[in-house]
């Protein structure tokens, strides 16, 4: 019962992430919606499965899956957001300070239109 409730809450978080991915208007904003809400959602579902399961072999599988998900999901989001920022730039909105353009040498590349390494 408790495990199914936790799974329901996690699935609701995954649905919220999906709504954010559809509704938000820029790739970085969509990534923001997905990477936060869905990480917690999947972890909630995994905890729900761990509550209802008693076999030690399956419990260690769930623990390993949760650990690997926690370890590997944020670097993948970071890589993808960095590539998105380099390729597409920041969204054209007021009040945004583009702090990454100087260390990544994006401004000079956008000005002289040289081929990228």
């Amino acid at each position: 019962m408790i495990g199914e409730l936790l799974a329901l809450g996690g699935a609701t978080l995954v649905l919220l992430a999906a709504v954010g991915v559809v509704r938000l208007d820029h790739a970085l904003a969509r990534m923001h919606a997905l990477s936060k809400a869905s990480t917690l959602g999947v972890l909630l579902i995994l905890v729900g499965a761990a509550v209802n399961i008693s076999d030690a072999n399956d419990l260690t599988s769930i623990l390993l899956a949760a650990l690997l998900h926690l370890l590997t999901s944020p670097p993948a989001s970071n890589l993808l957001s960095r590539a998105t920022y380099i390729a597409y730039g920041m969204p054209a909105a007021t009040g945004i300070i583009d702090e990454g353009a100087e260390p990544l040498h994006l401004a000079s590349q956008r000005n002289d239109d040289s081929p990228r390494e």
């Binding site: 495990g3 199914e4 409730l5 936790l6 799974a7 329901l8 996690g10 699935a11 609701t12 995954v14 649905l15 992430a17 999906a18 709504v19 991915v21 559809v22 790739a27 969509r30 990534m31 997905l34 869905s38 959602g41 999947v42 579902i45 995994l46 729900g48 499965a49 509550v51 209802n52 399961i53 008693s54 076999d55 072999n57 399956d58 419990l59 599988s61 769930i62 390993l64 899956a65 949760a66 690997l68 998900h69 590997t72 999901s73 670097p75 993948a76 989001s77 890589l79 993808l80 960095r82 590539a83 998105t84 380099i86 390729a87 597409y88 990228r116």
Partner: protein, 83 residues
């Protein structure tokens, strides 16, 4: 309750598939694919929570290992192509 959970996951699948088909850039499609992967993980774990049997749980480990590698490779491709 498990039926409600699967219904919610199916709705999330529909939304992610919409973004996968429509999404203007490659990064958007990659995000949608990542979301579909999460929905799959959630479905497997929900099934395990419902039945109490963990026959499919090693699949979760494989998905958690391999999925972000694909996302990182797409990121590398976007970065190298420059668009």
């Amino acid at each position: 309750m498990t039926e409600a959970t699967f219904a919610i996951l199916i709705a999330a699948t529909a939304l992610f598939t919409y973004r996968l088909c429509v999404g203007p850039s490659l990064a958007d499609r990659s995000i949608a694919l990542n979301g579909l992967l999460l929905v799959g993980m959630g479905g497997i774990a929900t099934h395990a929570a419902h039945t109490g049997q963990g026959a499919f749980l090693p699949t979760l480990v494989a998905i958690a290992l391999v999925g972000p590698i694909g996302s990182g490779m797409i990121a590398h491709f976007i970065e190298g192509r420059g668009k």
